[in-house]
Symmetry: C2
Subunit: 314 residues, 2 copies
């Protein structure tokens, strides 16, 4: 299975999938469009959220960073004159220091990610979407902003006018991504932000074509439930870009890319509208609060895919 994921929502489903599938049957491909250099260090927010979630280090209270982390380094950097609007804990800093050190030694982001996740005991491959830099850039009424400037520094307040993925045209899928793109038995779009988490992955040359031409089952889980994002600015951004803020809007984003859109039970009434977009709706509970919720949704998707495969190949 190839799971495409961004940050928190994607990591929740990925955790569920990783609890069920053995490492050789799941590759988690993660958005790196949010990566940014802070204090001279390479920070990969989505890779870290995924890594912390799968290693059990994740902080559910904040939605970022390491549970129980302290902030001595950041407080001191502020004292030393650094711009510290992006929160980084002391343990979190170790991740960025080590990543930066290994990248400077010439390792690729894929190699570094494999090294770091392996050290934390994660057996499932977590793969950056690309080893080349792709940066999500938002044109807003507050000017041109990086993803973190928009989301953290400006608390997702500015109105988004357009989004581009700088560097995507010169990037290529990471080796692990390219490999699973050609061999996966199913592709799952985790419930991540279509514009900020999934679109950067699709912007890499060849990826959209490969998924559009993919012959297996492609299942997306809607990050929009009941008219807004479960978490984060996905709903706000969809609305600002003129899309319908609903699972139907998500279906339109994924037209041609997905066969099935899994929507929450409270959106069961949207099934016909989703069908009219050319995507099959599937309804279940998609809100993942506990780890049991995550495993349950993952299991539901696997079961659905198996039955769907049986119906395709009777």
């Amino acid at each position: 299975m190839l799971a495409l994921a961004g940050g928190v929502g994607g990591a929740k489903l990925a955790l569920g999938l990783a609890r069920i599938l053995p490492p050789e049957r799941l590759t988690i491909v993660v958005n790196t469009g949010d990566d940014e250099i802070f204090h001279g260090l390479h920070v990969s927010p989505d890779l870290d959220t995924m890594t912390y979630t799968l290693s059990g280090w994740y902080n559910p209270e904040t939605g970022w960073g390491v549970a129980g982390d302290s902030f001595e380094t950041l407080a001191t950097l502020q004292r030393l004159g650094s711009d510290t609007w992006f929160n980084l804990g002391d343990r979190d800093f170790a991740m960025h220091i080590r990543r930066t050190e290994l990248l400077r030694r010439g390792m690729t982001l894929s190699e570094v990610t494999a090294e770091l996740t392996g050290r934390l005991g994660i057996e499932h491959p977590i793969v950056p979407m690309s080893d080349q830099p792709v940066r999500t850039v938002l044109e807003t009424d507050a000017g041109t902003l990086s993803m973190q400037e928009y989301f953290v520094k400006n608390r997702a307040v500015p109105t988004v006018r357009s989004i581009r993925y700088a560097g995507a045209e010169d990037a290529e899928p990471s080796p692990g991504f390219a490999e699973v793109l050609g061999s996966a038995d199913v592709i799952v779009f985790c419930p991540s932000n279509p514009h900020l988490s999934v679109a950067p992955i699709l912007a890499i040359p060849g990826v959209r074509d490969a998924i559009e031409g993919y012959e297996g089952c492609r299942i997306a889980v809607s990050p929009i439930v009941g008219g807004d994002a479960v978490r984060g600015p996905a709903g706000k951004i969809m609305g600002e870009l003129g899309a319908e803020v609903s699972a139907v809007g998500v279906a339109r984003e994924y037209r041609g890319l997905c066969d099935v859109l899994v929507v929450d039970t409270q959106d069961a009434g949207l099934a016909d509208a989703i069908s009219s977009v050319g995507i099959s709706p599937a309804v279940t509970d998609t809100i993942m609060q506990t780890d049991d919720d995550k495993v349950a949704l993952a299991r539901w998707i696997l079961t659905f895919n198996r039955h769907s495969g049986e119906s395709r190949n009777p």
Copy 2:
């Protein structure tokens, strides 16, 4: 005044001097031969000891780092597979992260040091000996070691056969050092390790000549008291290199460079032997335990220099 200093001992006297002299009358030139890259970050142990001492951040219990610091980042780096034999606290890390970031932006080590010390409220100029890399390298019976490998990783256990200062031939005094070298009314050799702290400074082309030809008063404080170093491996190394481990041995190291060697009262009996080396002995209490001790020794040196000047210019 130009004060030449290494780590702990030098910083003690420098603190005393800084409590008495206004910033425009004291420049503290610090050894950078111990600098080393850890985790991809530029660590300057002696600059940091000086900075922490003068800012009140110094940890008197350890002799390095920031008082009350925590070690979450280092513990996590160890977990991530990094080699963590060199202790670095979370606040300490901020210093190295910021220094590295500013150096990568193209600032010189002098500029970075001025920025960092200024942020911590230090008014007296703390100046690296050079903006170019000079690295103290020890040939030992355990192989070729950097200063930190010898001192920290190997706990100063290996026998030292020779010491060189790699890169010194291509280095030049930092701008602040060069300026004060030509204008200082007095030069003070702080009680630092002659081979590991002062010799790297002297190894920079032009420095030894400038001090040898200097016409003002040159006063050294012996780091060896009662037959061993007050702190650190200075005594051990002097012995291994064939020198007498005493204030007389220190006098021989500084022959031609110093006019006066200040020795502790317990070494008063060495006065004649020091005189025979061609350096005037001066006796006072040199063990600095409290801040009052540091100020008292600094005041003694200033008073001695004034009287000495009067006797030279009656």
